[in-house]
Amino acid sequence: MKHLLSASDLSRDDAVLVLDTAKQLAAATAQGVGKLPPLRGRTVVNLFYEDSTRTRISFEAAAKRLSADVINFSAKGSSVSKGESLKDTALTLEAMGADAVVIRHPSSGAPHRLATAGWISGGVVNAGDGTHEHPTQALLDAYTLRAHLRNGEGDLQGAKVAIVGDVLHSRVARSNAQLLQTLGASVRLVAPPTLMPFGVDTWGCEVSYDLDDSLNDVDAVMMLRVQRERMNAAYFPTAHEYSSRYGLNATRMNKMPSHAIVMHPGPMNRGMEISADVADSSRSVIVEQVANGVSVRMAVLYLILGGTEMS
């Protein structure tokens, strides 16, 4: 693995390798090995053009636990605010000897540009680009699903996952729809028609506009954050109406099979897409997702930087 730009870069075997590697790394952490040596002497740059708490911290923790040197770069307070282009920033990082760049960018396709333009020689990991993709989030979701539904082994063959909410603006939904299907799961997208992306029929997923009808046969429900910051038009009349039709509350949660889990990539709008009692219930694995994120990102960095580059 040289880069991780899209969940569609991963075959079923690649994805299972990432999950298996993450499992061993999580076990090492659980056994009290705080720091592992494989990325000693390697430099990982976190290049964040967009605000992020958990993803940036998660990548930083992952790189440090593997003994990499970490440089954090956020667009705020850098030369970017003076107008520096992505290309010039990339050339600067290359000159400083970055072995891998973890990039989050508001423009879809920025990681792909960075990986293929010839500006840098290191690996590129997409940590979220616009409304396009967020592959490590999909991997950590798959890891969490596998831990609960498949005892932490193999793929997700036969699992049924509903992804609910602002699918239109969600890179998490795009990456998950691809990865979960690669792993053999079936995916049902549930959203109001205004928040269902154009061309969704090509995703291979079932599409539903009714949340109440979509819950009784699923193994997991993944709630998406309503992304107000990306909405420059009215996609639904009021927050209250959205919440009453597409929010996950205790009544709806009780329609789910008893083994089914509730997921959310965070940050949550409590009371909007998910009620507080559901978010804090025993069926919610939201905090676990964050912990798994570190293990999965360790696995991705290890597989990209831990050996020689594959030709």
Partner: protein, 183 residues
């Protein structure tokens, strides 16, 4: 890389392996004065299976169970950067831990000694054993580091061109050690 290979020559069959492990079990008990405080740690994949067998044999002789685990050394190897990233294998530490224990590392073949060096680093992340000893099924020579085994199933003089193959029931359906020559 593909090799043209001469027909494999079997040097240890199933009974030979079993007898060698039984002898190793007795040697471990003798040298550790009764195997108290003993913890067996195998290096995956095949070393871990041999460790389980060795622990079972010692337990059968002594009449009390012997803690046994597995220790993956992949991330501690000195040749990590010479090949694409390798898959990680399971590490399991017995509930007793390894702090203050007499740890016997188990591997299938002792060759350059680099795996064992990596294992010593990996082990130290989990605690400070009272002492570490090494048991191997086959010592084929050609050491590149100052490492030797305390318990050896069979010394097998080999040339650098030869490949020693250990096959075990748990993984390969058969117990045997063979030598192949790469031409």
């Amino acid at each position: 890389m593909t090799h043209d290979v001469e027909p494999a020559r079997v040097v240890l069959d199933s009974d030979d392996i079993s007898r060698a492990l039984t002898r190793l079990a007795h040697e471990v008990i003798e040298r550790t004065h009764g195997a108290d405080n003993l913890t067996i740690m195998g290096i995956p994949t095949r070393g871990a299976s041999l460790a389980v067998r060795l622990a079972d044999k010692i337990a059968a002789i002594q009449g009390s169970p012997v803690p046994c685990g597995a220790l993956d050394v992949t991330m501690y190897r000195d040749d990590l950067r010479m090949r694409p990233a390798r898959a990680l294998l399971p590490t399991t530490i017995p509930p007793e831990g390894i702090e203050g224990r007499l740890v016997v590392l188990v591997d299938d073949v002792l060759f350059s000694g680099r795996t064992i060096r990596a294992a010593l680093d990996a082990l130290s992340e989990h605690g400070r054993p009272q002492a570490v000893q090494l048991a191997v099924l086959v010592d084929r020579g050609h050491r590149e580091l100052p490492i030797r085994a305390d318990y050896v199933g069979k010394n097998l003089p080999t040339s650098n061109l030869e490949i020693v193959q250990v096959r075990l029931r748990e993984h390969d359906g058969v117990d045997e050690v063979s030598i192949e020559r790469a031409v």
